[in-house]
């Protein structure tokens, strides 16, 4: 008889991160709504405090998927595959939010919701690649093969992240160049705006960490169910 499994529950750190993130979220909203307006856009600039954190955390999430896909290929540990899955899922949500908030911001500033310019197109390609990641996971039934194929997409798909980030520099773009340029360290933003942005980025990072850990536990529970099903099948074979 199989030993009774210990129930998988999120640990204290996960609950702590989630609680802290949710607790600070209204503070982040307050900071964003009291930040000064831009000389050109007026209060429209406040969309930035939602748009930029979601975009950056989408990039971060896909990077974590990339890392854990590599780890899985090297160590064959299903746990790494579950973290890669969790991070890709949350990255897809964040990148989707970034695309939507970007469209809402573009309409009053650029004049259109969408146009096929380099930054928007490369970001849409990035989004489509990770949608494909989940379709691929769903398409393959064999767990071992599924994990390997998903790891391959998680690694190769990540190439789109630096392409998307650098698209505003490499090509002639309608989208503005980076206000916080990680390649030069230059910040083209008033200090109060920068602080408000960093604070919201911190909050979204906490929420990302909480979500990915929470989703990891859920994935582990699901995997436990799958294993139990497999064990049941083997038991039936032995009986026959």
């Amino acid at each position: 008889m199989t030993e009774a499994r210990k129930p998988h529950r999120p640990d204290a750190l996960t609950w702590g991160l989630l609680g802290l993130g949710l607790f600070l979220l209204p503070a982040g909203l307050y900071v964003a709504l009291t930040a000064p307006p831009d000389v050109n856009q007026g209060f429209l600039v406040r969309i930035m405090y939602l748009h930029v954190p979601t975009a950056w955390l989408g990039y971060l999430a896909f990077f974590v998927t990339f890392l854990y896909s590599l780890l899985y290929l090297f160590r064959q540990n299903p746990k790494h595959d579950r973290v890669a899955l969790a991070s890709a899922e949350i990255g897809l949500v964040f990148m989707g939010l970034a695309l939507v908030t970007g469209m809402l911001w573009a309409r009053p500033t650029w004049g259109v919701y969408w146009t096929w310019e380099p930054r928007l197109t490369t970001t849409a390609i990035l989004f489509a690649v990770y949608v494909g990641y989940f379709l691929l996971r769903g398409a393959i039934e064999d767990p071992e093969l599924r994990r390997k194929a998903a790891a391959a997409v998680g690694i190769l798909g990540f190439i789109n992240v630096p392409i998307s980030y650098m698209s505003v520099k490499w090509w002639r773009s309608l989208h503005q160049t980076q206000s916080i340029d990680l390649t030069t360290g230059r910040i083209n933003m008033a200090p109060e705006m920068f602080q408000a942005l960093m604070f919201n980025l911190l909050i979204f990072t906490l929420l990302y960490l909480a979500f990915v850990r929470f989703r990891g536990f859920l994935a582990e529970r699901e995997a436990g169910g799958e294993e139990a099903e497999a064990l049941g099948l083997e038991a039936r074979k032995e009986e026959a």
């Binding site: 831009d38 009053p108 390609i125 769903g138 002639r172 309608l174 933003m189």
Partner: protein, 142 residues
């Protein structure tokens, strides 16, 4: 392989192909500047294109009733007169970056789509903004 997921994967691959070759292939050089246009005028003749530059100071003429907008687009070297019909974006003004889609008729660029290109710099108004200044700023932005 499960069939319905396979169909989804094919759709995604189709979307990727469309975006890579349609969206990206034609738009890496998203717009040309007036100088670039005049340099290769024959190449762009009778073809739709996108022009980008700054709206020259003192050249904007907008009729709210007929929604006719005329201005000069410049890159500091060459200038192109532009005619656009329709309400311009809220941030459109003199000195602002702009991208126009359309084609030339005579010497005037007939714009069918007018986009504002703003910079990456975000600055608060000078001297500690007050609610009154903010209200005036919003009026100007409108």
């Amino acid at each position: 392989m499960r069939r319905k997921y396979l169909l989804g994967i094919l759709i995604i691959l189709g979307a990727l192909g469309y975006m890579l070759f349609g969206g990206l292939g034609r738009n890496l050089v998203y717009f040309v500047t007036p100088s670039e246009y005049f340099l290769e005028e024959a190449r762009y003749q009778n073809r739709p294109l996108r022009l980008g530059g700054l709206v020259k100071e003192g050249t904007v003429a907008y009729d709210r009733d007929s929604l006719e907008l005329r201005f000069v687009l410049t890159d500091g070297v060459k200038e192109v007169p532009v005619y656009h019909r329709g309400t311009p974006p809220g941030m459109f003004r003199e000195g602002q970056g702009a991208v126009v889609e359309g084609r030339f008729q005579g010497g005037v660029f007939q714009s069918t789509n007018l986009l504002v290109k703003h910079s990456e710099a975000y600055q608060a108004p000078e001297a500690g903004w007050t609610p009154e200044e903010v209200r005036r700023l919003l009026q100007e932005a409108r």
